[in-house]
């Protein structure tokens, strides 16, 4: 028998009534109910349960995945019905999210009683920050973030405006990272806040060079003393340490807060419920290195950036540099929305100081009160002449205003002439003092039609958002150089600029890292350090023969001449042996 038990227990009775249905059924059922030696389950109960479930749920084509179904039923049997350790009604993450959201939904705390007129408090204008309205338009353009996220951004904007000295704020976009993403807000701070920051920065820079240098010198002095003590008995004194004569080229100074690339402050947050972090100001050096590297964001602000042209800073600095570059390239507005009408009263005296060009290009514009939206046909024109740049161009130097790296390093606009004269006088000593050609870029509010195209790629693509409902269509502009940069003209509130992307520039031919610099020479290479092949015996012999003194006119004895040759040959052989 194949099975481990006997089917017929009483052979005599079975033989009497051969086709006994009841006995057969009983036998089969007993077999099916045999408990498994491993788990204690039996097939009868399992089949009952599976069939019961299939009949209750009635899935379609259940035969195709019957095994799976049966396995699921079995799996369920081992799952505890209640978790007796802890009552878990929803997943912890969902609970956390909900409580964060509720916290953001709470009304703002009442402002501290102040004697100021409420109108003088100057809270930022939030009228253009209805993100749900923005989402409505973005969705038509094929963009958009989940609604809870948009609501959260709106709520936290409200909180930020109340808590920080912010003059105006808007939603900038989202930068996607590998672990987390960044939601980005762009804010313009109040004038007095900028002044305060610049004063603080000036104080810091004034203190900086003295303290660390003295420490370093002290440490060095200790080192050298210790070294002398140990090696004083050695007969020969060490040669003087070589001096480094290389001076790094002067670095363009950072634009002060509130000017140029640092005109706006940026706040980032990884997701719903997380706090908003302000990004530091950007330096020209960071901009220049960011152009040479191609690095994905991780989503954590403290990540070190390890790249070949060494990036000065962490991921927060790289993010800030990329935001500055993206803003400069992709912030566009319909023609006529902004004008240069307002006077340039906003620029303080300390800002003028830094500007080499003395405020030549206009940096301030204001919304045009008589703005008439251009016709949709014009906005959709592929020549892009009805869209203008609203952010300043970043010069190759990494600033929006050119800084003169000429002879006087503090090159202020007024002192430029003096600097040049100095340079001419000292030209023999310092060839660097020659005049540097100032870099310049297109002015603000230049139409996009002036943009240079990248090889065969058009820098911009403009599309209507709807082809069927064309009477409600909007014009959406997407940047091809910065995939993810979008601008959208709406009939009511003007326009929106949004960036949603990974923060990397498009490259038609792929990224090529900067080649490593040539290896520096340690010492001048001359004949005494050059490695050359030793001459062979034959060559030396040849040389000796060639350089023999001219044979004397009178005939000498052959024996004398032969002797030195032999000697030399012997020497050669010895040398060869040594080798």
């Amino acid at each position: 028998m194949l099975f481990g038990y006997s089917v017929t227990q009483n052979a005599g009775e079975a033989a009497e009534e051969l086709p006994n249905n009841e006995a057969e059924f009983f036998n089969a059922k007993t077999f099916l109910q045999t408990a498994s030696g491993n788990t204690g389950d039996n097939l009868y109960d399992h089949l009952t349960e599976v069939l019961n479930r299939i009949l209750a749920e009635r899935p379609e084509n259940v035969i195709d995945f019957f095994e799976e179904y049966s396995r699921k039923v079995k799996e369920r049997r081992y799952r505890p019905l209640t978790d007796r350790l802890e009552d878990c009604y929803i997943t912890p993450a969902a609970f956390e999210l909900a409580s964060h959201m509720l916290r953001a939904l709470r009304p703002l705390p009442a402002p501290a009683p102040s004697t100021l007129d409420p109108e003088d408090l100057e809270l930022a204008d939030m009228s253009r920050n209805n993100l749900l309205e923005m989402l409505f338009y973005l969705e038509q353009a094929g963009l958009g973030l989940p609604r809870p996220e948009m609501v959260f951004v709106m709520l936290s904007m409200r909180q930020l405006v109340a808590a920080k000295p912010i003059a105006s704020i808007r939603f900038w976009g989202k930068v996607l990272g590998t672990f987390q993403n960044y939601l980005v807000l762009e804010a313009e701070l109040k004038e007095e806040e900028y002044v305060r920051r610049n004063e603080e920065f000036a104080e810091q820079t004034a203190q900086l060079p003295s303290a660390p240098m003295s420490q370093l010198d002290e440490a060095l002095a200790h080192l050298s003393l210790a070294g002398e003590g140990a090696t004083s008995k050695v007969p020969r004194a060490l040669p003087a340490e070589p001096q480094i004569h290389f001076l790094p080229p002067a670095e363009a100074p950072m634009e002060p807060s509130g000017v140029g690339l640092n005109k706006k402050a940026y706040f980032v947050c990884p997701g719903i419920g997380e706090p908003w972090t302000e990004l530091p100001d950007v330096s020209p050096q960071q901009i220049r290195v960011a152009r040479q590297i191609h690095k994905a964001f991780s989503g954590r602000l403290d990540t070190p950036i390890q790249t070949h042209p060494e990036f000065p800073g962490q991921e927060r600095h790289l993010l800030r540099a990329q935001i500055a570059r993206i803003s400069s390239a992709t912030l566009v507005a319909p023609l006529g929305f902004y004008t240069f009408g307002a006077e340039e009263l906003g620029e303080g005296a300390e800002e003028e100081e830094e500007e080499a060009a003395g405020g030549e290009p206009k940096t301030v514009y204001s919304p045009n009160p008589h703005y008439q939206p251009p016709a949709l046909k014009d906005l959709l024109d592929s020549s892009m002449s009805f869209w203008v740049h609203t952010a300043p161009y970043i010069l190759p130097q990494g600033r929006t205003s050119w800084w003169n790296p000429g002879p006087d390093l503090e090159g202020a606009g007024d002192e430029e002439d003096e600097g040049e004269q100095l340079g001419e006088e000292e030209q023999e000593e310092e060839p660097k003092a020659t005049r540097v050609e100032p870099e310049s870029g297109p002015p603000l509010l230049t139409p996009l039609s002036e943009d240079a195209s990248l090889e065969t790629t058009n820098p911009w693509t403009v599309r209507p958002t709807a082809s069927v409902l064309d009477m409600f269509s909007l014009a959406v502009v997407r940047s091809n150089l910065w995939p993810g940069g979008h601008a959208l003209a709406t009939p009511t509130s003007g326009f929106y600029n949004v960036y949603i992307g990974d923060g990397l520039k498009y490259m038609q031919t792929n990224f090529t890292p900067l080649p490593l610099p040539a290896v520096q020479q340690e010492y001048p290479v001359g004949p005494e350090v050059l490695e050359v092949l030793d001459p062979s015996g034959q060559e030396e012999e040849q040389w000796r023969i060639d350089h023999l003194p001219k044979p004397k006119p009178q005939l000498g004895e052959g024996g004398e001449e032969a002797e030195p040759e032999q000697e030399e040959e012997e020497e050669d052989e010895e040398e060869d042996d040594e080798d």
């Binding site: 084509n61 195709d64 993403n181 082809s467």
Partner: protein, 280 residues
């Protein structure tokens, strides 16, 4: 992405910002159902959108019997009139990765592709640089095939291999748990497997002949070329390929809802080794 899931794409792929626009959702959902009916597809999916310079391409696919090998692709310029996407040609598969320009949006356009003299991706050795012709329709077909084979994803357990070898959608799929969703091995390449069946089977302890016949994602190099993000309070997992920016896979945890969609310019990003952190 299932045709019916298009209408709620803001909640799924919207986490990465690029979605199917309001009008496209309505147009595509209805035209895809008509396409399904005309072609007697068992199921129809929206594959994605390839952004062209003048016009965009919409790509969709469906299957009659086999959910993996029997996919038939269609493409369209307006989302309404669908045309059959031809099978990728050998020439197209060879030349498509060499194209540097973006697609134009005109399927009949013929472009010149330059093959450099020392190009290593082709088998033959060339004596001089060559210029070959490529029709945009063929390029599109090859591009779709390449993206599918490199970046199409299905969660483990969705595709079920029947004993007769036909692959069907597993109606008993109940979704991954948050713990499973953190592992790359819970996601499989939705392509005909490239590894031997026992290799794929035996990489798991809890292997299952009917489900572990596809290549898992963790065989892809370099490590980190896939991004997993579990968002919205552990309710959705999103996957993104660094090699194909624009491809997003989503799966609502503990539910059978899943899908992937590609919205991008059809350019493979080969700078991934530079983008990743060397000592992460």
């Amino acid at each position: 992405m299932n045709a019916n899931a298009l209408l709620e794409c803001l909640q799924s792929i919207g986490h990465f910002g690029h979605i199917v626009s309001t009008e496209e959702q309505i147009v595509l959902q209805n035209s895809l159902l008509v396409l399904q009916n005309e072609n007697h597809f068992r199921n129809v999916f929206f594959w994605g959108k390839i952004l062209g310079a003048d016009k965009d391409y919409y790509v969709a696919y469906g299957y009659v019997k086999d959910a993996l090998h029997g996919n038939i692709f269609y493409y369209s310029n307006n989302g309404i009139n669908w045309g059959l996407l031809p099978q990728p040609t050998k020439n197209g598969l060879l030349l498509t990765p060499l194209c540097t320009t973006s697609l134009q949006g005109d399927p009949a356009l013929i472009i010149d592709v330059l093959i450099e003299k020392d190009e290593t991706s082709i088998e033959e050795t060339l004596r001089a640089a060559q210029i070959r012709k490529l029709k945009e329709e063929d390029r599109l077909a090859s591009l779709v095939r390449i993206i599918c084979s490199e970046a199409a994803v299905a969660p483990r357990g969705v595709n079920f291999q029947r004993p007769d070898g036909v692959i069907v959608e597993n109606l008993a799929f109940e979704g991954l748990s948050a713990l499973e969703a953190r592992e790359f091995s819970s996601f499989l390449h939705a392509r005909p497997p490239t590894q031997k069946y026992n290799t794929n089977l035996l990489t798991r302890d809890d292997y299952n002949y009917a489900m572990d016949f596809l290549d898992p994602l963790d065989i892809d190099i370099p490590e980190g070329s896939w991004i997993i993000q579990i968002l919205a309070g552990d309710s959705i997992v999103l996957l993104k390929s660094l090699f194909w920016p624009g491809l997003v896979f989503y799966h609502f945890l503990k539910t059978p809802r899943h899908g992937f969609v590609y919205i991008g310019n059809g350019k493979r990003c080969i700078d991934v080794p530079f983008m990743l952190s060397p000592f992460a």
